[in-house]
Subunit: 197 residues, 2 copies
């Protein structure tokens, strides 16, 4: 191996990958309260896009908190580092042309702005899953609101820690008074033009 | 959204993704000295696999040290954390059926054993790019050996920090006295049966 330079020229660009995949890579950054329906909609969207032939993955608590971020706590600094690492991982999928659905509460504007800056504004799609806290708390799928109200969970978003509503989300999904099919239809319709070549 | 359970059932398994992609996901973990030809071969292999229709990506210093690991130093603890995070990121690509080429010196057996444990033994393919240090140092593509000999770089693998040779690498590539085409042929021949369905 006398010379590495001709080989280095053969690095595969994002454009070449997107051409192969027949799509534009994007990071679809879902934000919303616990119980808002983020994961439900993220999983349903992933399935729908996959079935349409798109290359799409999800980053969520299931694969992030147990893996790359398993050495982080819920301290303020670690919450920021949590979101930073998620954004960096999403950026790696993006660089490979893959559509990356990210589903975390990401409660503050600063966190989301930081993620957007890491990923790049033109590739970051903020998807606000907008469900009133009363509805989330009534659902309480994981029993977390009950625990938070009982003081068993500190700094629980919406109960004793703030959730800062996105001021200008790219996609705004209201889930109250609609069923999942309707929410999905809205979501899909707004996402498709952003990923289609 | 009355019930999340039917939706949760539609999570896309690795098997379903691999079926779509027509490949088996693997982590091809390249290890070897600085200047051994890891990156050159990694990039050439990625190109060859991509051109054959495989879904394949590279994790290396270019996209990791500047991104997810940009807050790590070269201290012993941070070197371990460096490799841990790389393994976790590789695992995310693997979970999505993608072939992930990882190219880092990863000098110690412990580091590589840790990566293998995170990724899972059956999905971890250790690829030893075996080039004598004299050859690496004579190439000195980045001028790093010269700096290390001059004492400008501390703990430089092979000069003033150990490189522990893999005892039983899954793939063993000798680059001395061969040109890149020959090394690539050996590499490709040994990788293909592991990723082909």
């Amino acid at each position: 191996m006398k010379n590495i330079h001709p080989i280095t020229d053969s690095i595969i660009s994002r454009e070449e990958r997107e051409l192969r995949l027949g799509q534009r890579g994007k990071v679809l950054w879902f934000t919303g309260l616990s119980g808002s329906g983020k994961s439900t909609l993220a999983i349903a969207l992933e399935r729908q896009l996959f079935d349409q032939g798109y290359s799409v993955i999800i980053l969520d608590g299931d694969n992030i908190r147990t893996g790359i971020n398993n050495n982080l706590t819920f301290s303020p600094d670690d919450r920021i580092e949590n979101i930073r690492r998620i954004a960096e991982v999403a950026k790696l999928f993006l660089a490979n042309g893959i559509i990356c659905i990210v589903s975390f509460i990401s409660p503050t504007r600063d966190m989301r702005a930081n993620a957007k800056q890491i990923i790049g504004p033109s590739d970051f799609v903020e998807v606000f899953i907008d469900t009133p806290i009363e509805v989330c708390e009534a659902r309480d799928v994981k029993g977390l609101y009950k625990k938070a109200r009982a003081g068993e969970i500190k700094d629980f978003t919406g109960v004793n820690a703030p959730y800062e509503i996105p001021l200008q989300p790219d996609v705004h999904v209201h889930t109250e008074d609609t069923d999942i099919e309707e929410s999905m239809a809205v979501l899909y319709q707004q996402i498709l033009p952003r990923i289609r070549v």
